[in-house]
């Protein structure tokens, strides 16, 4: 079992957490309410006990005074044996003091000789003093029906003639104190209500700017960098709002700068790609048209010379030259197509892809490529080029890395977009890891191209193979 100290500590901590968890508004309200109510109650109690003490003291003095005055006055009546006269004095005194419950005079044998009571004096009151000697003044409090009763006994003539007993009720006193207490409590409640109102206003004053600040933060988190916190007050919270706004300005600035850089990068990339493509096109065309035609001319010319000469040794040499020219022509044609297939410009994406797939089959004889291209009309030239390069990359990757036997390519026009899929049934790879490693320039360039076209590229890969999905808007 846990030691009590530790449990207590745990409980305190729990309470602390609970208190810390409530809103600032509740905290402030709670503090103010607790203070007002606490202070009010403490003051009421304090006043009540103070009043009680002084009133009781005053009453004791009065009781003492009445008793000793009566003791002096009773002595004459007793000496003269004028008991009815004595009773008249007692009654007059009793009616003069509203809080006097009873007055009576006993002889030395403690027998009542005169009393303010109409009938007989109750025995239990007479016997209250019991063993107390008659020659001493004393004071006794006891509980009776109407509340506390203070009983004062005063010996007459040193006890020789008996004693005077005066009973004072403190019911009026209690009533008075209760009235004061009630008033104090009422004041406490009113002050508390006022405190709550004041506290509410105060908390609104304090929490309103904070709430506004929180709302601004949420807007910023949702991506609205133009949101600014309002400056309500010139206090610490106002300073916080100002600092927050400065931070936002800074954030907005760097965000804009970044966006600008990104836009510039995209523009540069676009221009790079199109420049590269233009350059390839130019060189391919030059190779194809100029060098190719020249080589063909040489070939035809050699054929002509061969036909016109009967010289055998010369014929052999011409034949060798024709062979070289023909080979050179093949090389030029291949180079030109690899740089940029003219089919892409002349016939479109489908033809260019078909052509590339047959080339791929030559490079990777074990791989079977199946292309299904459904495009009702030619796509914009830039889109055709980008898609061609992208699919070229995907197909080459599949042939080179997947280890699969077949590659499927689907290109289809949809409403408003073109979708292309390249799929292999090879071993697959960890797309995320490869991307993160940044080792694959191919993957990166495919994504870049797709993004430049405003489209997206997705790659799904597992043990059963890899599929590249590209969708670009038309």
């Amino acid at each position: 079992m846990m030691p009590i100290g530790q449990r207590l500590l745990g409980r305190v901590e729990e309470t602390q957490n609970q208190v810390a968890g409530v809103s600032v508004r509740t905290k402030i309200l709670g503090i103010i309410l607790a203070l007002t109510v606490g202070l009010g109650l403490w003051m009421t109690l304090q006043v009540r006990s103070q009043m009680m003490r002084s009133l009781v003291e005053e009453m004791e003095n009065r009781g003492q005074a009445v008793a000793s005055d009566l003791a002096v006055r009773s002595a004459d009546y007793l000496d003269q044996g004028d008991l009815p006269g004595l009773e008249r004095v007692l009654r007059a005194t009793s009616s003069n003091h509203s809080d006097v419950r009873y007055i009576f005079v006993v002889d030395p044998t403690e027998r009542v000789v005169a009393s303010s009571f109409e009938g007989t004096t109750p025995v239990e009151i007479v016997e209250l003093t019991g063993t107390t000697p008659l020659d001493e003044a004393h004071h006794l409090d006891y509980e009776s029906y109407g509340g506390m009763t203070h009983d004062f006994a005063m010996p007459i003539d040193g006890g020789r003639l008996g004693a005077v007993r005066v009973g004072l009720a403190d019911s009026r006193l209690s009533q008075h104190i209760n009235e004061v207490t009630q008033q104090l409590l009422l004041t406490t409640v009113l002050v508390s209500l006022g405190g709550i109102l004041g506290a509410s206003w105060l908390t609104w004053l304090v929490t309103h700017p904070i709430r506004s600040l929180v709302r601004t933060t949420e807007r910023v988190r949702a991506g609205d960098l133009s949101a600014r916190a309002r400056h309500y007050t010139d206090d610490e919270i106002g300073d916080l709002a100002t600092a927050f706004n400065h931070t936002l300005d800074e954030l907005q600035r760097s965000h804009d700068a970044l966006a600008e850089k990104e836009a510039a990068r995209t523009r540069l990339l676009e221009r790079l790609i199109s420049a590269q493509e233009e350059e390839r096109k130019r060189i391919a065309r030059e190779l194809h048209d100029d060098v190719g035609q020249s080589l063909t001319s040489i070939l035809v010319g050699l054929k002509l010379i061969e036909a016109q000469t009967a010289h055998k040794a010369l014929n052999g040499q011409i034949s060798a030259l024709r062979h070289i020219s023909s080979h050179a022509l093949d090389t030029v044609r291949l180079l030109s197509r690899q740089l940029r297939p003219s089919a892409l410009d002349d016939l479109g994406l489908d033809a260019a892809l078909q052509r590339f797939s047959s080339e791929l089959k030559q490079r990777f004889p074990t791989v079977d490529v199946d292309i299904h291209c459904y495009l009702p009309q030619r796509l914009p030239a830039a889109l055709e080029t980008s898609l061609y390069r992208l699919l070229q990359e995907a197909m080459t990757n599949a042939a080179r890395h997947s280890g699969g036997r077949s590659i499927g390519v689907v290109v289809m026009q949809r409403t408003g977009s073109v979708q292309a899929i390249v799929e292999d049934h090879g071993r697959g790879f960890d797309v995320t890891a490869t991307r993160r490693a940044g080792s694959s320039v191919g993957l990166h360039s495919m994504s870049e191209r797709a993004e430049l076209l405003g489209g997206q590229l997705r790659i799904e890969s597992n043990d059963d193979g890899t599929t590249v999905y590209v969708e670009v808007p038309l």
Partner: protein, 220 residues
Amino acid sequence: MSPHEIRILLVDDHAVLRAGLNALLNAQPDLVVVGEAGDGQAAIEQAERLRPDLILLDLNMPRLNGLDALAELRRCVPQSRILVLTMHDDESYLRQVLAAGGAGYLLKQAADKELLSAIRTVYAGGTFLHSEHAHALLQPAPTADSRQDEALAALSDREREVLQLIALGYSNKEIAEQLILSVKTVETYKQRVMTKLNLSSRAALVRFALRHGLLDDLLA
């Protein structure tokens, strides 16, 4: 001008090549070059004027390119046979040329060996193709056969559904989400469909689905 000579119009944007060809052809007793043109537009004008027996046409030319010129020439001078002489060995070009009404397709790298026989074949009313090309063209175009129809009937509803979604271009992940299956299960369905239909790629599946009208109600 002997009535047996084949009258030829040379169309190529490369003057040196034209000169070489001119010399080579004119050296033949049965061939005569009656005209030359450096671009498609000039070729049409020349052809209308000269009405040659045969037009030797390059595909890459400024102004009107070869393929467009070919179609136009067929319209203007339908009696002239057209032999295309080009560096493009793409099947796609060949198909386009044949579709446009070309009678022969010769690669420039084989010009020295095959040009003369090609001209004579085409003039005689035949078609001249490079042997590799002829082979490619003879490949039967894939058609739906009755066995595939049976296989289609053998597909379960789920398999058919997966096939449709694949053909619509959905990724395996998307199919899995749509049919509330795991990606692995989708993969299994796909393999099963491919086995049942005896197809080996997504492209083949798409083609199959289109041909069998599986997407008709979905694409409409």
